[in-house]
Symmetry: C2
Subunit: 431 residues, 2 copies
């Protein structure tokens, strides 16, 4: 099923689409060369916003949930990509330990975990689930909506290795983003592969590092295609010491919001875009769509009401916000029926394995859609004409649009590998 | 669309299916370890016969045509597998030279070539077509049924490299099986990758070498699963000097047919199979479904009529038959509507990328279906439930059956790598 997309898209994106399609062999080769130098994250998902005049990633998740939202038709791609990933990491592996989030009552999330288990089993691994929840002392059975079950087990840590009772894995795969901090049980595991690495967790990771790396990637890619990197790059700034509850650090925020709005206004003028600029203020270490607000004027920050201050102060797992990223707002002009939509691209290793539209009927085109009430419509990558068609009229062909989304998604994934290299605490430096 | 399969399948295959599904992680790991030691062919297709009591490959093609018969839904798998293949062979590659068969008027074949071009372009290569037809002196445009065109160009050979005018490829991919002999223009290309290697062409290759390697693979795999290798292995014998026109060498053929029929009879008795055994006699170097006959009794060989003698004497590109393989006949009990069907599995690198049923309304269950009048129904690998379901009732689930077909197809592909290693004229030997 191709979702009924209403994309009132204007000039630049159609030009971008055409340029990307014409350059397909060059783009794929460029990625291939980049992957000779850099290691892709094990898996990732990227939220995109398509404004018609601009297409940009706005969030890159290195612990993707939501595999349950991909169409089943796409699963063989995920299996194949996992096979390629495992072969590189641990070709002799028999066992994979998967560590999911703790919220074991969310049946959507459990279905995501079930899907991951299926994928890795089909790729040739015995998969078992270990939990960071120390209150779970015995193997515990969780029921899924389809009547099947998953069993989570307490972790068994020895001096050098992590496993479960009678289960010694080669690779430990985190589907838990470590927002709550770095668990001791995961430290010092030098004999096993821990993926993603600890510094990819939100206890350490910062969105601003990611978007700095993305800017570098976007510039390289834009040079390859001979275009303005702004067309795919959201500008950003950051503030280090903000306390929304106490109103501390708001001057930094206001001046940066003001400066960024001015920069956006100049870009809009350059391209003749008749839109009101906005920025998104969000926790630099935040996730789950928490701690995010849309700001259209720096003055709005002086009069934040209690509700907004509360919302901005605490994010997932009760962590307090103090570092903040201010990101150029990219409106989304994609709709499914009447609801505002944004594409999300899923990747395993270097490969696009699927995607979906996040759809929210009660949100505006300049708001965060990752919030309660969102629903998901699988992207039709797998439809009858899913290979890009270089000669189709730009904008006319969903597969062409999805190819472009896959390219931008992979640029963000490449940025994540740059980012993880730059922030690796164990990296060797050659000064 | 799941093809309407009528599979009157009896016990053993359902047991095999169940054992294969239960062993999925072990099987995938086993393949992974095999691929650490052996290099898969760049691409391949395998014809299977499912007799209900036995499932076996009967032909392995290392120059597969027929990519046009795969569903478009499966193409992303082919693209992803090609990316993985290219990355290993020639990661910096820009250019791929594809050398198709000469029969440029067969629009089905041309559509296969077009599909291959699409796949490799999407994998990041500039693809151009070179021809072994020396009468083509200029770039020549060929029209396809959908109104698009392909251009084939004369080869340009220098002392060390092969290319086209202004086109220097890293890899040369043959989609021409070299039945007509080894062209001089392809010899001594030590600077470029020539895939498949020359000794994979039918000028050198022998089916009997392949099935000898397959026997070894089948034994290893059967040991892994704790089963009788005969359930997946077609027995065979060969005769070196047969001349059907002159009736020479027929004694060898008769005694081998007789002995093989006796061996099959014993196996049928062991399994309580109420079938009349038969063997397939075919050219050891033949392809295109040419030079094949079904023999139910060795006596039938004494009275071959002129038509049969002619059919058996000359195969593709006018080559004379003298070496002959006698293969255990495996009836096919799959039907699509009223027509006899056999599955064909397509692979790129180590990955299953699709398949189809070859269907022939005018042939029997003990006859070769690869002949004029055959049609093709894509295998529904990509259907809504295409991941194997370990707990489904054996025989009840098309995806489970297709997973099993993919496993047997990959066993034959693995046999092809053993075979190519064993027959490599440049192999280093350590005696």
């Amino acid at each position: 099923m191709v979702p009924h997309l209403i994309t009132a898209l204007t000039g630049p994106i159609n030009e971008l689409e055409q340029r990307i399609l014409e350059s397909m062999p060059a783009i794929e080769r460029w990625f291939r060369l980049e992957w000779m130098e850099h290691t892709p994250p094990f898996y990732s998902s990227v939220d995109l916003r398509n404004a018609g005049f601009k297409l940009a990633p706005v969030d890159t998740n290195l612990f993707p949930g939501g595999f349950n939202n991909l169409t089943e038709e796409m699963l063989p791609l995920a299996v194949q990509a996992s096979m390629a990933a495992i072969e590189k990491i641990c070709p002799e592996a028999k066992n994979l330990l998967l560590i999911p989030e703790r919220h074991t009552r969310n049946s959507f999330y459990l279905t995501n975990v079930q899907r991951l288990v299926q994928i890795f089993q089909a790729a040739g691994l015995n998969v078992r689930l270990g939990t960071l929840d120390e209150t779970i002392k015995e193997p515990t059975t969780l029921e899924l909506p389809d009547g099947s079950t998953l069993t989570v087990e307490p972790l068994v840590r020895t001096k050098r290795r992590l496993g479960l009772k009678d289960f010694d894995p080669c690779t430990i795969l985190l589907n838990n983003d470590l927002s709550a901090g770095l668990p001791e049980v995961l430290e010092g595991l030098h004999e096993q592969y821990l993926l993603p690495p600890l510094h990819a967790g939100w206890a350490v990771r910062r969105k601003s590092n990611h978007f700095q790396a993305y800017e570098e990637v976007a510039k390289k890619f834009a040079k390859l295609l001979g275009m303005d990197p702004w067309l795919i790059n959201p500008m950003f700034a950051k503030c280090g010491q903000v306390n929304f509850q106490e109103g501390a650090g708001l001057e930094c925020l206001q001046s940066n919001v003001d400066a960024l709005l001015a920069k956006i206004r100049r870009k809009y003028k350059e391209y003749g875009i008749q839109e009101k600029p906005f920025v998104i203020v969000k926790a630099d270490a935040g996730t789950y769509g928490m701690g995010i607000m849309t700001v259209r004027d720096a003055k709005d920050l002086t009069a934040l009401n209690r509700k907004t201050r509360n919302k901005m102060s605490v994010i997932k797992d009760g962590q307090e916000v103090s570092e903040v990223i201010i990101q150029e707002g990219v409106p989304t002009y994609e709709r499914i029926n009447d609801a505002v939509a944004e594409p999300v691209v899923y990747m395993i290793d270097r490969y696009v394995v699927g995607g979906f539209y996040r759809v929210h009927a009660e949100r505006g085109i300049d708001e965060n859609l990752n919030s309660p009430g969102a629903s998901f419509v699988p992207l039709a990558f797998a439809e009858s004409a899913q290979l890009p068609k270089p000669h189709a009229k730009p904008g006319a062909s969903p597969p062409n649009r999805f190819y472009m989304y896959g390219v931008i998604g992979r640029l963000a994934m490449l940025a994540a590998s740059y980012e993880l290299e730059a922030t690796d605490p164990n990296a060797e430096t050659y000064d």
